[in-house]
Symmetry: C2
Subunit: 293 residues, 2 copies
């Protein structure tokens, strides 16, 4: 990434930054990669401090700002906050801390849900912190006050996805237990409000029933990124290696983690079918921390 920023390229040539609390944001990376095959990406997974979903507002804000600044310092043209919890709790703080445009996953997810719900009620499944923040409910209310929103935290889905148990009887039992009340409340649309949940799409769809439309907030955010780049004239100019030959996790995309790179690779393989070609462990917090006491 350094060579890119040293040579002061056109802004449009810079990669898109993505950060997540850990490995879950790879589903958002995949959506962006599919939607924008001409773009390069730099991904940061804060694996030393994952998960954010059980942490407080102040802590999530602090971690999110450190992540955002790390990516900004590596030269990006736009920042995508893939983590739903960070999007729900820390978007204003992140926007104040960096100079580039910042897109979270909550608003795009809320908008997409309203579009397909067509006046029907909306369910949201997410981490404890995201549910407690009511970020999705608030974003939906701001766009349409009439729509009823029901939220439910589903913390076990994260471990199920990371264990590679997406297609097991255990996953089906967990999904049916978590979603029974939402199913009974006859929602029209269900927002997958955590980056891990798309991995469990099939069992979630089974449990909630075929009539409910699932919204992947990461996919919704990818469409928003595309239209923002278009309107800002920031789309990357296609070159011979891009688009046609582009593959997930090839060496045009750079991955950083704050801890345990080997585990990240293993779970990445489970989520995407491939492991990152370029993966590096870094520190995003102050180095002073290591010398205290």
């Amino acid at each position: 990434m350094n060579s890119a920023s040293d040579s002061h390229p056109e802004l449009s040539e810079l990669p898109i930054g993505i950060f997540d609390s850990g490995v879950g944001g790879l589903t958002v990376y995949r959506a962006l990669h599919e939607q924008l095959p001409d773009e390069r990406f730099v991904y940061l997974g804060d694996t030393a401090r994952v998960p954010y979903g059980t942490k407080s507002l102040a802590t999530v804000e602090r971690y999110a700002i450190e992540n955002a600044r790390f990516l900004e310092s590596h030269g990006i043209k736009l920042l995508v906050v893939a983590c739903n919890t960070a999007s729900a709790l820390a978007l204003p703080a992140i926007r104040q801390s960096v100079g580039v445009d910042v897109i979270g996953v909550i608003e795009p997810g809320a908008k997409a849900a309203i579009q397909v719900a067509q006046g029907g009620s909306i369910g949201v499944i997410a981490t404890e912190a995201t549910v407690q923040s009511r970020a999705y409910a608030t974003a939906i209310e701001e766009l349409d006050k009439q729509i009823q929103v029901t939220e439910r935290a589903c913390p076990l889905f994260v471990s199920l996805a990371e264990e590679g148990w997406a297609d097991t009887d255990v996953a089906r039992a967990v999904a049916s237990k978590y979603l029974s009340e939402l199913k009974a409340s006859h929602i029209r649309t269900l927002v997958l409000g955590c980056t891990h949940y798309p991995i469990l799409k099939r069992v979630i769809q089974e449990a909630i029933g075929p009539e409910v439309l699932l919204i992947d907030s990461g996919e919704a955010a990818a469409r928003e990124v595309q239209s923002l780049l278009q309107s800002r004239e920031l789309r990357h100019s296609r070159n011979e290696r891009m688009a046609s030959e582009r593959e997930l996790c090839d060496d045009l995309d750079h991955f950083y983690v704050t801890d345990a790179a080997e585990r990240f690779s293993r779970v990445a393989k489970r989520f995407l079918g491939v492991t990152p070609s370029v993966l590096e462990a870094v520190e995003v917090w102050g180095h002073d921390e290591l010398r205290t006491h």
Copy 2:
């Protein structure tokens, strides 16, 4: 705690320090409380950085040292590392960093397992990091080279315990999936090598079969603490409020968390049936960290 250290009391009057990556260590606190009703305890749950079980050696060491020093600075006579992952990865580093005696849960758990296994083979269930460290296998081998040890990571057990799903069909399905290979290998004893697992004792016993004896490392560590205090003549002298009236989480025991105290209380209620009377959110890392960037 400050008043205690200001008045330079006898060492034996000081509380016992306990730290854990989060709320799971409350099962170790409970075991210590039952075993040592005359003692006071000061507990630190590192809820801002939980879980440790998916993190690297260097990171776990750093966190563990910060926690240990925080508790030492509050005046304790002995430190119990309740977290299996921290015990497995960071015990030597912790011992170098503080002046008090340090007891982890691995060695006591290994010893207890060997005692009851009577030459039969031993199973260990724990976090990914603890299993990867082979800390239990190494501790058992050091005491008895002949005993066969089989280890298995069971990450979903943590979320199941924290969700309050200990006694559900989902928990039974997860336990039977995790433990099927261990069951087939005819172990004599199974070590519960993560502080959360005693919460799921019943379903674990069901899944592994009634002939396998379960070892709770926290209970084993509590017995070791008792005998160490005895040999060092550090037992607290009984006073009128102690022992007879003592209750879990009463105001003689102090609880600290590094984040999200409200959630800690909620899960504590689930684990112990009560919430801490004295619970405070603190920072254990360098304050410089907050000012960086």
